[in-house]
């Protein structure tokens, strides 16, 4: 069980990193989402074995699941949800302005292109 989850975390991180290194904004956002899922799953894994819900009854020591990582993961989910929505809005706005989904060159990139005699895109 834990091995399978650990492998899932690894795959999510790998896919997320790969997508993050792409040039299109939509893929970058998807990559960040993958990374987020990986990190949240890792938080859950950090809590150790699964157990009974720590709400009622008496399962004795070690019988309950550790609630803290779940609370942490829940907080992280809420935060990343908000920022992902902001990022999507930003990407849409950027698409509306430049009509392209690609990351634009920054000021230094453009300067280097100019110095090298190339044409500005």
């Amino acid at each position: 069980m834990t091995v399978a989850l650990a492998l899932t975390v690894g795959v999510l991180y790998a896919v997320g990193t790969w997508l993050l290194l792409q040039r299109t904004l939509s893929r970058i956002i998807l990559g960040l989402a993958m990374l987020t899922h990986g990190a949240n799953l890792l938080l859950l894994l950090a809590g150790g074995r699964a157990g009974r819900p720590p709400l009622t009854g008496d399962a004795g020591a070690g019988g309950y699941a550790d609630p803290l990582p779940q609370a942490l993961a829940l907080t992280a989910v809420v935060i990343t949800f908000g920022t992902t929505v902001f990022l999507l809005a930003l990407a849409y706005r950027s698409f509306a302005v430049t009509s392209s989904d690609e990351v634009q060159d920054d000021v230094e990139d453009r300067r280097v292109t100019r110095l090298g005699g190339g044409e500005e895109p």
């Binding site: 960040l32 987020t36 890792l42 809590g47 942490l72 935060i79 920022t83 902001f86 990022l87 706005r93």
Partner: protein, 505 residues
Amino acid sequence: MRFLLTLPVVLPLAGAGISMAIARHPWAQRVLGLAVTTAVLGVSLWLLVVVDQQGPMATQLGGWPAPIGISFVADRLSAVLVAVAAAMSLAVLVFAIGQGAAVGAAVVFHPVYLILAAGVSAAFLTGDLFTLFVSFEVMLTASYVLISLGARPEQLRATMTYVVVSLTASMLFLTALGLVYAATGTVNMADLADRLGALPGGVRLAVGLLLLVVFGVKAAIFPLFPWLPDAYPTAASPVTAIFAGLLTKVGVYAIIRTETLLLGGDGTPAWLLLAVAAATMLVGILGAVVQDDMKRILSFNIVSHVGFMLFGLGLFSLAGLAGAIFYVVHHVVVQTSLFLVEGLVEQEEGSGALHSVGGLLDRTPLLALLFGLPALSLAGVPPFSGFVAKLALVEAGLAGGRGLVVAVSLAASLLTLLSMGRIWGSLFWRTPAGHAVAAVHGGEEPETAELRVPRSLAAMRAATAALVILGLAVALFARPLYGFSERAAADLLRPGVYRTAVLGR
């Protein structure tokens, strides 16, 4: 006195909520913003005095004892940073309100600005690693909104990079949290300090390096800084000023806190910190020297000066840490005032591009004074605060036998003077160029269009002058301030004090 601990966070958060509700009355929003930031400044100065007299104090949210509950802790380092941050928030808010157009007019500006202030205070005061993550997110999410206010295409591009880099760092932070919890079973920093010590060296090194990378992105240290000079200059001047003063310093604070309290100085090798510090100083300032835009020059300067703070930490001696703390206080004040001056220049000239400005010495001699004093201080010319801060670091470096890094820091100071000299030469000594005059009288550059007439130029100048005078005061009261920094550094080197305050044992 414990209620003081949460007020710098609660006040601005409550203020932000009310500010959002009264969005239809811009004047009420402005009054509320000023009232809240003034109150936070008062509370944090009070906190500073109390903490300096009685030593570190802590409070547990919801009454759950640590390490179960969330602790808020103020030791001398936290208290002084909260106070300085509050002073900057107030001054920059006055400046933004005076500028009126662009950011000051947006309905969301005031609530989001207060949320940013709350996030910064929370990051300094929290005694819980996960709450530090949440504070970072609160602060950064507010900064995403502030940096993209106006939504010019160039801003959108820079904001995108800024947000993606910040979020990636946040996900690494979350990963580090997961690993730390898996290894120790706690996220309370005082408790972690005990438990991390019992872990094998390899695990400690991994945790230390991961946290260094995470906070290094936020603090803009050497290989992780390129997002900063790209993103900061695109925002409106008051926004850049508050970012420059506070955001990177939160990263620096987090690095100092983790290296001293959590890892006790052997988390990451000292040579690594010193090498990164030297590279940050040098690469940052070399970037500044070749830029043409005033905001970009100042932004590269932030990077370079973060290196100085890291240098003090890397020495890991009382003198080094005291120097680093003094440097942070000095740099926050000076760098913020320089960015406010840049805002005044933009107001005057319509742009901060060095090739299109000139002749300001005759038109506004006051501006020359306001720029000259902090610029000399930034470069470390005696008798300003920068000189005191650099002297402390150089002496600590020589005492620690790190001559090479000291040499690099002196070279970086000299280059800082050069970069400030270039700004001075273009702004004040050159006769006004023809197109600069055109820019003033109805120029068509994108920045000009949104500046228009300020609501109150006097308020903008007063805010800038207040910070410049505060910078001079840092130099004037250098002796008591350095004494304070030494006491703060001594606290950091004896993590037991912090643990006792939080855990009560």
